[in-house]
């Protein structure tokens, strides 16, 4: 495989962004991305994730005092034209007046490389994206998935120092999104390029990221591996944003979590608390001292599992069970949650 990329480590130091109308889009942010790492920035719209990407790209400048470093070199004053980063947008942003091959070769044409090199590099990139058959097509003859492949090939053709992707799959339909996501994942691993991937889709974030940065209101809510983010969310926001999270109010005392529906073991300092857990961590068990009393509100048979919504002392709790059992509405059941699966979201407000 020919060399595709020169990966750099990216550092942001106290990068904030205030828009001309006074809106603070980004609170001072420090961020470290390792060379070759895929970092996913995840959050709802307006959380500052795209602003962060645009600052790294050089499309937006951070407020005075903020710094962007590529391998320790301060690139803050370097405009995007000379920052050598590849960008892929949600809207593809392919040049409609050029063929597929001309699009991919554009970065080399601008750099005045010999025509033969432009062509061979473009064809190499098209082959890598498995769209070499489309080389002479016009852009309006391509499907959405094909367009995004061309956009990826074009961004990588210049051997960028980093690849920045702004919601690249959002415009595609669900099935294609899945296919292309797997493809992008394979591509990023193979190429080993430093990649920053912005999305609002938690499934995409979990599947692609070496690490995930969850953002909220222009701040980092949590940074960690997909596992850490899922298993140990540090805040209510992160817990709610990723996957389904049950939250039970109660009290922690003497090594147990006590609710109106019974108590389960939990070693936490005493006090009013809220215990959170994932639907797949709870189990339906026979009545016993370490189980909570619950009533079935609804049950959905999903094939590989049954999703139950239970009423636990007035709180709705979602449980996934893979047992071959059927439950009926109104049925009384008992619920056990292993102590290591219980997440402490802090004292109750």
């Amino acid at each position: 495989m020919t060399e595709v990329a020169r990966s750099v480590a990216i550092k942001l130091r106290s990068c904030s962004k205030t828009f001309p109308d006074g809106t603070k889009a980004l609170q001072p942010l420090d961020l470290d991305v390792g060379a070759g790492e895929t970092l996913v920035i995840l959050g709802p719209s307006g959380c500052g994730k795209t602003t962060t990407l645009r600052i790294i790209a050089g499309l937006d400048e951070p407020d005075p005092g903020g710094k962007v470093l590529f391998d320790g070199e301060d690139v803050t004053p370097v405009p995007i034209e000379r920052r050598d980063v590849g960008i892929v947008f949600q809207s593809y942003a392919l040049f409609p007046n050029m063929s597929v091959r001309e699009n991919v070769a554009y970065g080399l044409r601008v750099r005045r490389r010999p025509a033969a090199e432009q062509r061979s590099r473009a064809d190499e990139m098209l082959a890598m994206m498995r769209i070499e058959a489309l080389a002479d097509r016009r852009i309006d003859q391509l499907s959405g998935g094909q367009r995004q492949r061309v956009a990826l090939a074009r961004a990588l053709a210049i051997r960028p120092r980093a690849l920045l992707l702004d919601e690249p799959l959002t415009a595609l339909d669900a099935k294609l999104r899945e296919t292309l996501r797997v493809e992008i994942d394979g591509l990023l691993r193979r190429v080993g390029i430093t990649a920053i991937y912005v999305t609002h889709d938690q499934a995409e974030a979990m599947a692609l990221g070496d690490r995930i940065v969850v953002m909220e209101h222009g701040r980092v809510a949590q940074i960690g591996s997909p596992r850490e983010i899922y298993r140990a969310p540090k805040s209510r926001f992160v817990a709610d944003f990723i996957g389904t999270m049950n939250k039970l109010p109660g009290r922690a005392e003497a090594g147990r979590f006590v609710t109106a529906a019974g108590s389960i073991p939990w070693s936490r300092e005493a006090g009013a608390a809220e215990a959170a857990f994932r639907p797949e961590d709870a189990r339906i068990v026979p009545a016993g001292p370490d189980a909570l009393r619950a009533t079935v509100t609804t049950s959905f048979f999903l094939g590989d599992r049954t999703r139950l919504v239970l009423d636990v002392a007035g709180t709705a709790v979602t449980v996934d069970s893979s047992e071959r059992a059927a439950w009926t509405r109104g049925e009384a059941v008992h619920l056990a949650v292993p102590p290591q699966a219980l997440i402490d979201l802090g004292d109750r407000a």
């Binding site: 995007i80 034209e81 007046n97 210049i158």
Partner: protein
């Protein structure tokens, strides 16, 4: 099959009013014009005479040159102004755009009047140049004055067309080009101008056709200005040379049409489709 042909017949019947209007106001006058053009002493060879006769040929060439220069200058000015107005928000922008479109309402006579006030014998430019250099610069009563008037007249509608088109350009395209290393000038040449091409062609065509055929401004400035509409007017009213006037009119129409068709073909398939 029979029902089908009856339908076809009905459709043709529905087209009839449009056909009558087209014939009455376009085909018949044009045919008549062509016939009159051939009714002179030398018959249809009169058409050839126009292209050989130095006076008429000079008139034709200078009209074409004026229209081409007006089109180029208008497109340059309007593209710059239009892009600036779309990309920059500043206080008074809406008012400026409204003022820019003001000349749309003026007839050619008023445009000519304004050119005289600016560059005529008592004009502003004359006063200023006299104060500065001691010589009075007067160009209102010439091709230069006409050129200025036509540009002034054509810029508003061209700016509006270009602004409408520029607002629809995807800013991501430009950002993508810049990320690939393209300078501002490259972005303009490779992304912005191709994106504006349909608008530039449409506006350019109208501008060119207007400059070829406009009469009021030329008539206001001076009767000596050697453009085709003036020549036609002179032949028709002053010389009563009706055959030549008709032949010139026909040639004016044909040459304008041919020039526009040529521009369309030269600028590629997308344009032919747009035109």
């Amino acid at each position: 099959m029979r029902a089908r042909s009856r339908d076809d017949f009905r459709h043709l019947l529905l087209l009839l009013p449009a056909g009558i209007v087209f014939a009455a106001f376009f085909l018949v006058p044009l045919g008549q014009l062509f016939l009159i053009g051939g009714s002179g002493k030398s018959g249809y060879a009169g058409y050839a005479d126009i292209l050989v006769h130095p006076k008429y040929l000079r008139s034709l060439v200078s009209t074409l040159a004026l229209a081409a220069a007006t089109t180029v200058a208008t497109l340059l000015l309007s593209t710059t102004a239009g892009l600036f107005l779309v990309r920059n928000a500043f206080p008074g922008r809406a008012l400026l755009v409204a003022m820019l479109t003001l000349p749309l309402a003026f007839p050619g006579v008023v445009i000519g009047f304004m050119v005289i006030m600016l560059a005529g014998r008592q004009g502003l430019i004359g006063d200023v140049t006299q104060a500065l250099t001691g010589e009075k610069l007067v160009f209102a009563y010439s091709m230069a004055g006409l050129f200025m008037g036509y540009v002034y007249f054509s810029v508003p509608r061209t700016v509006l067309t270009i602004m409408a088109s520029a607002e629809k350009l995807d800013p991501r395209l430009e950002e993508a080009a810049r990320s690939l290393g393209a300078s501002r000038l490259r972005v303009l040449a490779d992304v912005i101008l191709p994106g504006l091409k349909p608008a530039l062609l449409a506006a350019g065509a109208i501008c060119f056709a207007t400059a070829m055929g406009a009469f009021g401004t030329a008539f206001t400035l001076a009767t000596r200005i050697d453009v085709l509409p003036m020549t036609i007017y002179t032949e028709f009213t002053l010389q009563a040379n009706i055959a030549v006037a008709a032949a010139l009119s026909f040639v004016l129409g044909a040459v304008t049409w041919a020039a526009l068709a040529l521009a369309r073909t030269a600028s590629g398939a997308t344009v032919a489709a747009a035109g």
